[in-house]
Subunit: 242 residues, 2 copies
DNA sequence: TTCATACTTCGATCTTAACCGAAGTATTGT
DNA sequence: ACAATACTTCGGTTAAGATCGAAGTATGAA
């Protein structure tokens, strides 16, 4: 029975309030700087730096340098899942929780995640895109030729995206839906395009709201199905979106 | 964003080596006394008593008195699942782990998880059960009428299970295989039945070993396929088992 | 009643690590 | 070159809590 200590070492990392705050701030899949995480955790820069170093050597976070910033993100969806599981357990066992104002509802429906669409709409968009084979599923999603045509036609310059360093397609674990939505350069371009068309606008904070007509056009353009049918679920599952 | 601290309070409880040892000792669903748990954790009785009190007020454990003993058990399968998830994370992120002695191999092949079968055999059992449509996949697995007949015939009183409060079927994420196996009352009943038939027996700790003939009978009874074929994988996917 | 077992509570010690100030490094901007 | 920003490292303080010895309570056995 030496797996006790193994559990303990990881759990202890999650067991500090400052680190837990940083990790939950990262749960939406964004990458954040040390300063932002220090802010989120309510500690000074030095303290945050120390915590992040620990999380890094424990492989719970990955870091990438960009200029004088250092961006941290969760090392994988499993980290987010463990955090969710802990939240669930905390809730069941009656650790206090304030929960679910109306603003929360809106956040759940559509919000900005880093720079792309997340929440229920984001997940449904991803499902539809997979379903119509605009991207090929798998570990690393990839644009199909059918998808390339579609998005070029939609007003997104795919060739330009592919020249940049940023990956065109990326999975991104959705915090509220617990499924993947689309990130990467394409995810960002889609949000940018539908914002330009005034289908959606940004509210206070991270909340996004569709206009009534905007949502209809969004549904039509990507042929969203009413709800999650069987084949969509299959695609989701195969795309490891749990 | 005040759910950070909530996560932290639970995680901190799991983050102490002594407590982690006690909890993992309880993972198979048994109830153990304070002395036994002190022994398992390698601490004195007083120390163990203090830890157990904390775990109790946090609702991670339940206690029942019996004479001059006090028995503790996990307050629910979700606690065990969080522990498994943490083990999985610890493994992926390379937390030291002396790794793969023969005992480890055995653990990977078949072990007890809370009170049902886990490890490779557990996953293969679940795959076969899904494949033969004994339970219907989806978010909450459900026994089919075909499955009801099958298990009644196998010697399990399904009607009795359904009268109890505990869910009959439950997914349970397998720590080593990272796929689902079957938990819930039915999972427990199956393990209990194949133990009674002496197909499998419990070794030290959580390791389970099939007898040579027992495994053959097990394979035949549930019609396990040799390895994970395509349609099994499909079923797995539909059951959201990654 | 008396003793033993199983456990809890109290009190003191001691280890760990979270925290921040101060100083140091690296990168960008002017 | 100089200043500003972003971050890391070092050192000392402090607070939390893990541990165990000793004493107290409850149950069972002789």
């Amino acid at each position: 029975m030496k797996d006790g200590p193994v559990v303990a070492s990881v759990a202890a990392l999650l067991g500090d309030p400052a680190r837990a705050n940083m990790l939950t701030a990262l749960m939406d899949g964004r990458a954040l700087t040390v300063s932002e995480l220090a802010e989120a955790a309510g500690v000074t820069l030095q303290t945050a730096s120390g915590h992040l170093a620990k999380l890094k050597v424990a492989n719970l976070l990955t870091a990438e340098k960009q200029g004088r910033h250092r961006y941290f993100r969760l090392s994988g969806p499993d980290v987010a899942q463990v955090l969710e599981a802990l939240m669930g357990l905390a809730e069941r066992t009656g650790a206090v929780r304030v929960r679910t104002g109306p603003r929360d509802e809106a956040l759940r429906a559509a919000r900005i995640c880093y720079d792309h669409l997340a929440g229920e709409s984001g997940v449904r968009l991803f499902v539809a895109i997979c379903h119509h084979e605009l991207i090929a599923g798998g570990d690393v999603p990839k644009l199909t030729s059918k998808g390339r045509d579609f998005f070029n036609n939609f007003g997104i310059d795919i060739a330009a995206l592919e020249k940049a360093r940023r990956p065109v397609c990326r999975h991104c674990l959705d915090w509220s839906e617990r499924r993947n939505h689309l990130g990467g350069a394409l995810g960002a371009a889609i949000l940018s395009e539908i914002s330009a068309r005034k289908w959606i606008k940004r509210d206070a904070g991270r909340v996004l709201t569709f206009s009534r007509q905007g949502f209809k056009k969004f549904q039509t353009a990507f042929q969203l199905t009413g709800s999650h049918g069987k084949s969509e679920l299959l695609h989701l599952a195969l795309n490891r979106s749990i």
